[in-house]
C-alpha cells in the first residue's frame, strides 16, 4: 500500500519549492508534436468546497447554491459523499485521473472556514487547488464567474474560509450570481429565501454550465477557456 519509492511529501515539496510559478506551465515546444504537450495536467488533488447552511431548513435557499453546485458535480462525476470529516460531508472522486475532494461543510456558514482549513491541511491540498463555490450578490441571477483569487465581498462564509486559510486570498473561486435584494429588502432575508421559478430555471442551467467549467478548470487550469467561459456568462442574458 505504501510504496517507499515515493511519498506524498515529494509532491508537496515540488510545489512548495516553486512558489512563484504555481500556475500550470506552458512548455517550450519546438517540434511538431501535438499541442497536448503544451499543457501538463497537474495531478495534485483539488478540494472543491461548496458553502452553505446545513439541514433541510436551508435546503434550496439562495445562500446554499454552493451546496447545490457540489451536489450537481457529485452526480455528474459519480462521487458518493458519505464521509464526515472535520465537520464537513466529503466525498472523494476523480475527474479523469485528477483526484477531487468534494466537501460540504456542515457548520453554519460563518464557521465554514474551520472545516475547510482542516480538510485542506489533512489532504495536503495546496492553496491554488482549493476551489470555493459560493453565492454572489454582485452578479445577476444565474451568471457564473471563475476567478483565480479575489476578496470576501461581504460573504461571511468566504471571510471565515480566508481567515482559516492563513489569511490568504489567492485561492480560486466559482461565484454563482444571485442578484441584488430588490428594493430595501433585508440582505439576510433575501439570502435565506428560496428561488423563484424563473430564477430556479436560470440557476439550474447555470449549474450545468458551471460543472462543465469546473471540469475545464481542474483539467487545464486558468486558461483561455476559462476567460471565454467568464465572457459568455457575463453576456449570456444579453442574447436575443
Amino acid at each position: 500500500m505504501f510504496c517507499s519509492a515515493y511519498t506524498p511529501s515529494c509532491i508537496y515539496h515540488f510545489h512548495v519549492n516553486k512558489p512563484v510559478c504555481r500556475k500550470p506551465r506552458f512548455r517550450v515546444c519546438s517540434s511538431t508534436s501535438s499541442e497536448s504537450d503544451r499543457f501538463k495536467v497537474e495531478y495534485t488533488p483539488w478540494l472543491i468546497v461548496g458553502l452553505g447552511n446545513p439541514g433541510n431548513k436551508y435546503h434550496g435557499t439562495r445562500h446554499n447554491v454552493g451546496f447545490e453546485m457540489i451536489d450537481k458535480l457529485a452526480r455528474k462525476e459519480g462521487v458518493l459523499m458519505n464521509t464526515i470529516q472535520s465537520k464537513a460531508l466529503i466525498g472523494i472522486g476523480a475527474i479523469e485521473e485528477v483526484p477531487i475532494l468534494l466537501a460540504k461543510p456542515q457548520t453554519y456558514m460563518n464557521f465554514s472556514g474551520e472545516s475547510v482549513g482542516s480538510l485542506a491541511a489533512h489532504y495536503q491540498v495546496p492553496l491554488r487547488h482549493i476551489l470555493l463555490v459560493y453565492d454572489e450578490m454582485a452578479l445577476p441571477n444565474g451568471v457564473l464567474r471563475l476567478q483565480p483569487k479575489g476578496g470576501q465581498g461581504y460573504h461571511n462564509g468566504v471571510k471565515s474560509v480566508m481567515g482559516n486559510l492563513d489569511g490568504r486570498r489567492n485561492f480560486p473561486r466559482l461565484s454563482i450570481g444571485i442578484g441584488h435584494p430588490p428594493g430595501n429588502m433585508d440582505m439576510k432575508a433575501f439570502l435565506l429565501q428560496k428561488f423563484s421559478t424563473s430564477e430556479r430555471r436560470q440557476i439550474d442551467e447555470s449549474l450545468e454550465q458551471g460543472s462543465e467549467a469546473v471540469k475545464t478548470l481542474v483539467l487545464s487550469g486558468f486558461s483561455e477557456g476559462i476567460s471565454r467561459f467568464n465572457l459568455v456568462q457575463k453576456y449570456k442574458f444579453h442574447k436575443v
Binding site: F2, Y6, T7, I11, H13, V16, N17, K18, P19, V20, C21, K23, P24, R25, F26, V28, S34, E35, D37, F39, Y43, P54, G55, N56, L80, T83, I84, Q85, S86, K87, A88, L89, I92, A94, E96, E97, V98, P99, Q106, V116, S118, A120, A121, H122, Y123, Q124, T216, L219, S220, F222, E224, G225, S227, R228, N230, L231, Y235, H238, K239, V240
Partner: protein, 709 residues
C-alpha cells in the same frame, strides 16, 4: 479852494447809455475816461485764445512778407542767418526749452510737440501669424489653415468626425479675430498706457520668494542636480530627458489633490484649450485635465492629440483624469502663441449615421434586427457626463456572445449619444442599426472575427508555439478578462482537454512525451513505461524536470487521497455514513454528534513559511513520513513528539525558521510531521483555554527541557 457840493463828486446823471461793459460794477463810480486807476477794470482783456490767434496771425503775416521781400533766392540762401530760429511757441504750448531734459519748478521735461495720451500697448512678442486664415473642408472635417501655423486649426481636435462634411451651414469664415492688431481684440478702445513698462513673464526668472502680491509659481524642472533650465524651442528639447519613476510619482502625488483643473466635455480638445493649458503651465508644472462625457470613449486618442498639439507629456492617466507635464525646460515666454477662437463655428452638415438599410443587409434583415433589438437586454447603462472608458472593450466582448448589442443611453442628450454611436462605429468596427428610445443598437457586421480562439478545434493549429514565460503566465491567469492578451500568449492546446471526457487525451499527453523520444504508446502507463519515460526524459532537455519525476506518482494520486481518507477514518477523524442515510438533516445531526467526539483535524498552514526547512529536511522526512503514516497514533502522540511540537508551536510565530531547523536537528529521532498533523492538533489543544490542559502543556514543556539536557 475846494468845491463843496451837496452831491458827491463826480456827478452822474442817470446814464442814457447803459454800461456796455458788464464787468464794470455799477457801484464803483469811477470816471470812465482819464482815470488811471480804473484802467485795469476798464480795459477789456482779450481771451487767451484771441491772443494766441493774433500772435499766430502776426507771425504768419511776417513770414509771408519776409518771403515776398526776399526776391533773390540766392541772396536769401547766401544770407547768413543772423540767428538761429527759435520758436517761442504759444502760451499753452510753450516751445522747447533751451536746455532740454532739465526739469525745474518752472518747466517740465520735453515731450515733443505732440504728447501722446492714449498710446496702444504693444505686447512684447508680435503676433506670429499675419496671414488671413483659410477655411478648408477635407476628409478630416472642417479646419482652418493659416500660413506659419504649426498645424491646421480646428474647433475640436478630438471630436471632429473623420468624414468629409457634405456642406456648410454658414458662410465660411474663420472664427479668429483680426490678425492685424497688435493686441487681442477685446471689443473696446485700448486702455490708457500704464507708466510701468510691460514685463513678459519668463519662467526661468521667478519673482523673489517673499514678494507680496505675487501668485505662486512653480519653478522649472524637475532637474537633476547640476543641470539647469535651458532656453530651447523644439518640443523634444523642452520635454527634456524622460522622467524617472520617482519623479513621476512625486509629480503625480503633488497634483492629485489640486482643485485647479481643466474640464473637457463633449467638445473634447478645443482650440482655446491649448491656450488654457499654457496658462495653467505658467504657474504649475503639471496640468490636471478631467474628461467627462463623450470624449472619454476614446481616451487614447485624447492623450495622443494632447501630446501632439501641445507638446507636454501625459504622466498619469486614470479613467477620465489626465495629468499633463509641461516639460523640464518649458518657458512661458517662448510658448507658441495661438490666435484665440472667438466663437464656436457652426458644425457643418455630415452624412447621416444610420441608413434605413445599412450596407450588407437587406431591408427585411434590418427590420428584423430592429425588432429583435427592442427585446434585447442592454449590456450597460450610460449616465450623462459619465466616464465611458470601458465601453469599447465591453462592446467587443459582448459581440463574442451575440451579434446585436444594445446600450441604454437614457438621460443623455441626443447629440451626445449619437456622437458616442459614431465613435463606436469607428473604434469597434460595427454597424449602427438604430437610435430609437435613447438606445444605441449596433450590429457586429458581417466581417466580424472573434478575438478568442474557438475551443472545439482538435487539430494542431499552431505548429511553432510561443514561449510562455513564468511572468506572463501569472499575469495571464490573474487578468481573466483580458482576452486579447491571453489570446496572444496562450494557445488552443489546453482547450483540447475540455470536451473529451475519456482519459485518452490526458494519457496521450504523457504518451506524447514519450513520443518525443520515439516511443509511441498511448496506453495507460505501466511501470516499465514510466521508467523508460523517466529515463529518456531525464536526457531530454525539458525545462521542468520535476514534472517528469512526479509523473509516476500522478497515477496513484487518487489512490493516495483515498488512502489518506482511510487513515482519517482509522484515526477517528472521519466517519463513514450509510449511503441510504444522506438526508441533509441526518447528515447535519450526525456531523454535529461526531464533531464532539472526533479528533481535531490539522490547521491549515500556508506552505511558504516552512520552505527553507522543507528543503533541507527533504530526505529525512521521507522516512519519517512513512513512520508517521504507519503509526497512526494521532490520538495520543508520544511525549517526545509532543514536546518537540510544543516548542515548535511557540516558535512558529517568530518565523525563525532557523530555530525550527535546529530543533529538527536536535530532535533527530522525533517525528516532525511535514503535513502539520501533530503540531496543530496540539495547537488546538493548547488553544482551548482550559486550565488543566495548560498545566499539562507546561509540564510537557518542562519535560522537553529535561530531554534536551
Amino acid at each position: 479852494m475846494s468845491l463843496k457840493l451837496n452831491t458827491p463828486f463826480p456827478i452822474f446823471a442817470p446814464s442814457l447809455f447803459p454800461n456796455p461793459n458788464p464787468r464794470a460794477p455799477s457801484e464803483i463810480r469811477f470816471s470812465r475816461w482819464g482815470n488811471a486807476n480804473a484802467e485795469r477794470f476798464e480795459q477789456r482783456r482779450r481771451t487767451q485764445e484771441e491772443l494766441e490767434a493774433e500772435i499766430r496771425r502776426d507771425r504768419r503775416f511776417d513770414a509771408a512778407t519776409s518771403i515776398v521781400h526776399t526776391q533773390d533766392s540766392a541772396a536769401a540762401s547766401s544770407e547768413p542767418k543772423t540767428s538761429p530760429f527759435r520758436s517761442r511757441g504759444t502760451p499753452s504750448q510753450p516751445s522747447a526749452r533751451s536746455i532740454p531734459g532739465r526739469r525745474s519748478k518752472y518747466s517740465k521735461p520735453d515731450y515733443g510737440p505732440t504728447r501722446p495720451k492714449n498710446k496702444p500697448k504693444v505686447p512684447d512678442s508680435p503676433p506670429q501669424l499675419g496671414a488671413k486664415p483659410e477655411v478648408k473642408l477635407s476628409e478630416d472635417g472642417l479646419s482652418y489653415v493659416i500660413d506659419g501655423a504649426p498645424f491646421e486649426f480646428k474647433y475640436s481636435y478630438t471630436e471632429t468626425p473623420k468624414v468629409k462634411p457634405l456642406k456648410l451651414r454658414e458662410a465660411p469664415y474663420a472664427p479668429f479675430g483680426p490678425t492685424t492688431m497688435g493686441r487681442p481684440w477685446t471689443g473696446r478702445a485700448p486702455l490708457p498706457q500704464s507708466q510701468k513698462p510691460p514685463r513678459e513673464f519668463d519662467s526661468f526668472q521667478l519673482p523673489p520668494v517673499g514678494k507680496k502680491g505675487v501668485k505662486p509659481v512653480q519653478k522649472p524642472g524637475p532637474f537633476r542636480p547640476g543641470v539647469g533650465p535651458r532656453y530651447v524651442y523644439t518640443k523634444e528639447e523642452i520635454l527634456g530627458e524622460p522622467l524617472t519613476k520617482e519623479e513621476i510619482r512625486e509629480l503625480v502625488t503633488s497634483c492629485l489633490k489640486t482643485t485647479r483643473q481643466l474640464n473637457m466635455g463633449r467638445d473634447g480638445l478645443t482650440h482655446n484649450m491649448l491656450n488654457n493649458i499654457h496658462d495653467l503651465w505658467k504657474r504649475r508644472r503639471v496640468c490636471k485635465i478631467k474628461c467627462k462625457g463623450v470624449c472619454t470613449v476614446d481616451m487614447d486618442n485624447v492623450c495622443e492629440q494632447l501630446e501632439e498639439k501641445i507638446g507636454g507629456k501625459v504622466i498619469y492617466r486614470r479613467g477620465g483624469v489626465i495629468f499633463l507635464f509641461r516639460g523640464r525646460n518649458y518657458n512661458h515666454r517662448t510658448r507658441p502663441r495661438f490666435p484665440l477662437m472667438l466663437w464656436k463655428p457652426a458644425a457643418p452638415v455630415y452624412p447621416r449615421l444610420i441608413q434605413q438599410v445599412p450596407e450588407g443587409l437587406t431591408l427585411k434583415e434590418a427590420t428584423a434586427m430592429r425588432r429583435k433589438g427592442r427585446e434585447l437586454m442592454p449590456i450597460c447603462k450610460l449616465g450623462k457626463n459619465g466616464v465611458y472608458c470601458d465601453l469599447v472593450k465591453n462592446v467587443r466582448e459582448a459581440f463574442e456572445v451575440c451579434e446585436l448589442v444594445r446600450i441604454d443611453c437614457q438621460g443623455i442628450k441626443g447629440s451626445d449619444f449619437r456622437k458616442i454611436g459614431a465613435k463606436l462605429k469607428d473604434l469597434v468596427p460595427c454597424v449602427l442599426i438604430s437610435f430609437e428610445n435613447e438606445q444605441i443598437l449596433i450590429w457586429r457586421g458581417r466581417e466580424w472575427k472573434s478575438s478568442l480562439t474557438v475551443p472545439d478545434k482538435k487539430d494542431d493549429i499552431l505548429r511553432d508555439i510561443d514561449v510562455d514565460t513564468v511572468s506572463e503566465e501569472d499575469e495571464a491567469s490573474e487578468s481573466l478578462n483580458h482576452t486579447q492578451t491571453v489570446n496572444q500568449n496562450s494557445s488552443s492546446g489546453p482547450m483540447e482537454f475540455q470536451h473529451d471526457p475519456d482519459g485518452d487525451e490526458l494519457c496521450s499527453s504523457t504518451g506524447d512525451i514519450s513520443a518525443l523520444e520515439g516511443a509511441g504508446s498511448t496506453l495507460h502507463a505501466s511501470s516499465t513505461e514510466d521508467v523508460t519515460t523517466d529515463n529518456s526524459l531525464g536526457d531530454h532537455q525539458e525545462p521542468e524536470q520535476e514534472s517528469e519525476t512526479s509523473e509516476e506518482i500522478n497515477r496513484q494520486s487518487v489512490e493516495r487521497v483515498l488512502n489518506m481518507m482511510k487513515q482519517a477514518v482509522e484515526s477517528g477523524a472521519a466517519l463513514v455514513l450509510d449511503a441510504a442515510d444522506l438526508d441533509p438533516d441526518t447528515v447535519f445531526a450526525r456531523a454535529v454528534a461526531f464533531s464532539s467526539v472526533a479528533t481535531p483535524g490539522p490547521v491549515f498552514q500556508h506552505g511558504l513559511r516552512k520552505q527553507p526547512a522543507v528543503k533541507k529536511e527533504e530526505k529525512r522526512e521521507f522516512g519519517y513520513k512513512n513512520i508517521e503514516a504507519k503509526t497512526s497514533s494521532a490520538v495520543v502522540p508520544g511525549r517526545k513528539e509532543v514536546a518537540a511540537t510544543v516548542e515548535r508551536y511557540d516558535k512558529r510565530e517568530k518565523e525563525g525558521v532557523e530555530l525550527k531547523m535546529e530543533e529538527l536537528d536536535e530532535d533527530y529521532r522525533e517525528v516532525i510531521p511535514h503535513g502539520t498533523l501533530k503540531v496543530d492538533e496540539l495547537a488546538k489543544l493548547l488553544a482551548v483555554v482550559v486550565p488543566g490542559r495548560k498545566e499539562v502543556a507546561v509540564r510537557e514543556k518542562g519535560y522537553e527541557k529535561q530531554e534536551k539536557e
